[in-house]
Amino acid sequence: MRVQLRYFASLREALGVEVEAIDLPEAVATADALRDWLAARGGVWAEQLAPGRPVRVALAQRMAQPGTVLSEGQEVAFFPPVTGG
């Protein structure tokens, strides 16, 4: 499955990536599985996406829960807790 990834704010700066398109293995089917898969890249990825770090996920531009299922071609965004207002 191919998805578009986007990163925002402090997470984008720490990872040094703003957008990327990736092909996921079949086993990576949910938001939290994708997070774990990215963390397995190691280094700053493992550090920033480690379990317990406050990272939010949006699928198709809507806030997602860890178990939310991914879809082909979807835009998936990772970012820190929001601080607007």
Binding site: A9, A58, Q61, A77, P80, T83, G84
Partner: protein, 159 residues
């Protein structure tokens, strides 16, 4: 009955927006508004400027969803949510929320609800400049608590 959602770098005119929600709308008996501004101190450090990043597309959708949620809980006539992005300085306006209603109870509560939800659900991030350099503002537990208290409340229209 309309919800106005705007994400923009330009400043906004609160008086003009209040007039727009009042003039020609005789059913309106109450207008509640909130304006958030840039402070010159945060977490004990001086702040010389603030950069607001957002997630174009998702931001507008998230704000529209919050306005719809407010409508489902209170008797609301019109709402306005305007949030600025980009570089701002102390005393600048950041955000405007206005709710019009027949009575003040609905307007006050819906306005506060919209701000509390915006603080925890709309994808904006602040990066501030202090004498030590720039830093990303961290989310506050108190904002989560402010949003969570509405979850415990039944729909609250006041007569």
């Amino acid at each position: 009955m309309s919800d106005t959602i705007r994400v923009q770098s330009e400043d906004f005119d609160t008086g003009a927006e209040l007039d727009r929600l009042r003039l020609g709308k005789p059913a309106v008996g109450a207008l509640a508004s909130f304006v958030g501004t840039v402070r010159d101190v945060n977490e004990g450090s001086g702040v010389s400027d603030l950069f607001l990043e957002h997630y174009p597309g998702m931001t507008e959708q998230a704000l529209a969803d919050i306005a719809v949620e407010a409508r489902s809980r209170w008797r609301v006539i019109d709402t306005v949510i305007i949030h600025r992005v980009g570089l701002l300085h102390p005393t600048d306006q950041i955000v405007l929320v206005i709710v019009s209603s027949a009575h003040r109870g609905d307007a006050f509560e819906a306005c506060q609800f919209i701000m509390d939800y915006l603080k925890t659900r709309a994808p904006f991030w602040k990066r501030e400049r202090t004498p030590d350099g720039t830093r990303w503002v961290e989310a506050r537990d108190s904002d989560d608590a402010a949003a969570a208290r509405w979850a415990d409340r039944a729909t609250g229209s006041t007569p």
